[in-house]
Structure formats: structure tokens, C-alpha cells
């Protein structure tokens, strides 16, 4: 078809019918405490990486729940694994384990194993 140079904007609406749950399911199977997140943001406030880059672990956790796997791939390597978020979390979520599981989960998804 001839290209007239027009584009359409992708809808920003989250459609709960179309959420990719592979990564979130994998994390929750191995670290159920991840679901106890209150989105308080204390992890992000203390984050060493977040101090220097656009890395936002609170936002990332939400994006994972909404199935945004592509963006997670881009973001996750910014984490320096210092573990300060783990000390801070009021719900005692093992955030460092979550980060490791994200990395593992993304690998498994790449290999089409889940």
C-alpha cells in the first residue's frame, strides 16, 4: 500500500484483557511477597541507580504487572544490586530477589520457555 506519511497514535489505555502476564507470574511463583507492594516509593527514594539515572523501581514493578516486558528489558540493567531498597521496604519484600527474578524471567521469555 502506498505510504502517505500518516501515522496513528497507539492508545495509551491499559486493557486488562490484553496483559502479558508471563513475567509477573514467574516472579510471583518464586517471590510471592512481590504482590504485597504498596507503591509507597521508599525503594525508589533510596535507590542509588535512581539517583543517577531514570531508573525507577517502583514504576518498574507496576510496568511488570501491566506486562510491559520490552521496557523492563531496557530498564533492569540500570540496577546496581546494592540492596538498599531491600533494607527500606516497609512490607519486607525481597526486592533484590525480585530484580534477580526479573533478569531470569526475561531470559526464559527470550528463549520462549514461558
Amino acid at each position: 500500500m502506498r505510504n502517505f506519511g500518516f501515522t496513528t497514535t497507539k492508545s495509551r489505555t491499559i486493557d486488562y484483557e490484553k496483559i502479558d502476564t508471563r513475567l509477573i507470574s514467574y516472579i510471583l511463583q518464586n517471590e510471592p511477597s512481590f504482590n504485597a507492594c504498596l507503591s509507597c516509593g521508599s525503594c525508589t527514594a533510596i535507590c542509588s541507580a535512581g539517583n543517577l539515572t531514570s531508573f525507577n523501581i517502583r514504576k518498574l514493578s507496576l510496568q511488570i504487572r501491566l506486562g510491559d516486558i520490552e521496557n523492563t528489558k531496557l530498564e533492569i540493567d540500570k540496577c546496581m544490586l546494592c540492596g538498599k531498597c531491600l533494607l527500606e521496604c516497609p512490607r519486607g519484600i525481597n526486592t533484590r530477589n525480585v530484580i534477580m527474578l526479573i533478569k531470569k524471567g526475561l531470559n526464559i521469555i527470550d528463549k520462549n520457555e514461558i
Binding site: T13, D15, N35, S39, K59
Partner: protein, 342 residues
């Protein structure tokens, strides 16, 4: 002349009557319905323990029977008049006029009428229920749970703050109990429909009481209930009877749409019409939320602006069962002090 006339035979009224009777005072309860127990009669289970509401009801029925309390059923109060000698004349729908040294308003609350939030589709779409409807449905559940259109639900959403914290519906205040009730009902639904995805759309989660935060965590971690921070804007119905919700996920800062088989509206508590009537007939002072204004929030929450007129339970604002029982017990002590002084 009776010592204490108690308006309302719910938990607050009965507890006040029992406590006062034990202290040696003569009490009379006036109840507008044909049975005692108030709203508790329509409730299935209670937070945070999920115990059957009938257990509490049975306890109070037994306490009432043991003390042979005097209760006028099917009778409602039409006016409270304070006489010059400091006593009260209470007129009722029957041909009975009570003369009493003190009066306790234990007339409770009424539930917000969800039809007032037309955009939520209550009584317009079949699969929209209120939290009270769900309790009734669970109480009489026989066999598998099905939605009003006879489907085993795969997706259910609970909407917090319906008629609460909403000036559009005339109620600016928090009803306090709907948050934890939603969590309780969400857990209950997940237990009986384990295949269902359950969403709770909230503005803030106010898990103020003992055991509430624990329930919330259990709902997240064990039952995988999804909490979405955002207020429902509107509901539409699909051709197949499912409902389409529009809610902003305010944490993601993105609009979202959720398709569900059943929607539960967490209706708030309102001051009942009777309170407005009492206000009119005896100059009772009410707060901006239309509930009775306590004489002193901290050290006189059972007292009103009228000497000898007391309150027990939710007539002063939203309260849980255990808060109501404590408030009623406190009312009995306050009245005892009043009667022994006068």
C-alpha cells in the same frame, strides 16, 4: 417514668440496654423493624475474622432473652420533646407515649443508595451489585456462586468509596468500613470462585483497625487480588452482559479499561432520616456530615448538646461492630453517672 428509653434495637441499642439493666436501671427499647439486630440481620460474615454475623446476633438475642428486656417492635419514634422538669416525652407511631428520665439515640445509619451514582449503573445493569446485596447473596448461597445473569464469574471488581468522600453525592466524609469490607468480600469471593480475577479500585486504602492491614496483605499475597489506585469514572454494558469499566491507574498515570462479569459497589453509611427528625423536634445538634454531633469528641462522645439525651453506636458516624459495642457500653456508664447525679 422509665429510666432510659433507647431508640433502636440494633447492636448498639441492645448492648446499651443490657449494660444499663445490669446496673439496675429500667430500660425500654423502641425498634422500627419487626426484629432486633438491625443491619446485622442482613450481613453474612464479619471482618477481620470472617466469623458468621449470626454468631454475634445469636449472642445478643440470648442476652436479650436472659434479661427479659422490654422491646417495642414495629414502632418508630415520631418526636422527642424535652420537658421543663428535665425529663423526656417520646411520641411513637403507635398510641404509646413514653416518659423517660433519659433517652439514647441508637438509631444507627442507612446505606447510601447507589442509584444516586447513575454512572455506575446500579439498577440499570444486571451485574452491578452493592456490598450489601453481595452479603445477602452470600448469606443465602446454596451451591455454586453465580452472577445475577447466571454466570460463574471470571472477573469481579470492587469499587471503593461509593457515596463516600464524594461531594457529588453530598457526602464528603469517609465511611471508614468499606475499605476493609471490600478486602473481606474480595477474599471471600476468591475462596468460593478461585478461578476469578479480582480487582479492587480504591482512592486510598484505610486499614485502620487491628487485623485489617493483615487482611489486606493476605488479599495481595495469598489471594492475588489486584489493587488499582483510581476511582471508577463510568460503567458500560457489553452485549453479552459483561461490564466495561473506565478507571485511571493513577500510579501508572494511564487510563485503563477493565472488563468484568460482576461489579460490587462499596456503599457508604449515611445519617438516617430519623436523625433529621430528632434534630427538628428537639434541637439536636448535628455535624456537617449530618450525623449527631458529639458534645465532646474525646471525652464526651456519648453526650449530645441536650442534657439527658445520649447516643450509642453509628448515630454519631460510621463505626464497626466492635466500636459500636464499646460505644454502647460507654453510653451505659455515661447514663449511670447522669442518673445518679440527678
Amino acid at each position: 417514668m422509665i429510666d432510659v428509653l433507647i431508640i433502636g434495637g440494633g447492636i448498639a441499642g441492645i448492648e446499651t440496654a443490657c449494660s444499663l439493666q445490669d446496673l439496675g436501671y429500667e430500660t425500654v427499647i423502641v425498634e422500627k423493624e419487626r426484629t432486633i439486630g438491625g443491619h446485622l440481620n442482613n450481613w453474612d460474615t464479619l471482618f477481620p475474622t470472617h466469623r458468621p454475623a449470626s454468631e454475634v446476633l445469636e449472642y445478643y438475642t440470648e442476652e436479650t432473652r436472659k434479661r427479659a428486656l422490654t422491646i417495642y417492635l414495629n414502632t418508630y419514634v415520631t418526636s422527642i420533646i424535652k420537658l421543663d422538669d428535665g425529663t423526656f416525652e417520646v411520641n411513637t407511631s403507635r398510641d404509646v407515649i413514653f416518659h423517660s428520665k433519659t433517652v439514647v439515640i441508637a438509631s444507627g445509619y442507612s446505606l447510601f443508595n447507589a442509584e444516586r451514582k447513575e454512572e455506575y449503573g446500579y439498577k440499570i445493569y444486571d451485574n452491578v451489585l452493592t456490598s450489601a446485596d453481595l452479603e445477602k447473596k452470600l448469606k443465602t448461597l446454596n451451591g455454586e456462586f453465580k452472577t445475577p445473569t447466571d454466570k460463574v464469574p471470571e472477573k469481579i471488581a470492587f469499587i471503593h468509596c461509593v457515596g463516600s468522600r464524594d461531594e457529588k453525592s453530598g457526602n464528603h466524609y469517609c465511611s471508614k468500613l468499606c475499605c476493609v469490607t471490600a478486602v473481606k468480600q474480595a477474599i471471600h469471593m476468591k475462596q468460593i470462585c478461585p478461578q476469578a480475577d479480582i480487582f479492587c479500585c480504591y482512592m486510598d486504602l484505610r486499614m485502620y483497625g487491628p487485623g485489617f492491614e493483615e487482611m489486606y496483605r493476605e488479599a495481595q499475597e495469598k489471594y492475588h487480588i489486584q489493587f488499582i489506585r483510581g476511582r471508577l469514572s463510568e460503567v458500560g454494558e457489553n452485549a453479552d452482559g459483561t461490564l466495561q469499566l473506565k478507571v485511571e491507574d493513577t500510579l501508572a498515570a494511564r487510563p485503563s479499561k477493565i472488563k468484568v462479569d460482576m461489579l460490587v459497589l462499596m456503599v457508604g453509611m449515611e445519617s438516617p432520616q430519623s436523625t433529621a427528625l430528632f434534630k427538628e423536634t428537639c434541637g439536636l445538634q448535628c455535624a456537617p456530615n449530618r450525623f449527631i454531633q458529639p458534645n465532646d469528641h474525646h471525652i464526651g462522645s456519648n453526650k449530645t448538646n441536650i442534657d439527658g439525651l445520649f447516643t450509642a453506636g453509628t448515630s454519631i458516624g460510621p463505626m464497626s461492630i466492635f466500636d459500636t459495642i464499646n460505644h454502647a457500653k460507654a453510653s451505659a456508664i455515661t447514663i449511670k453517672n447522669y442518673l445518679s447525679r440527678n
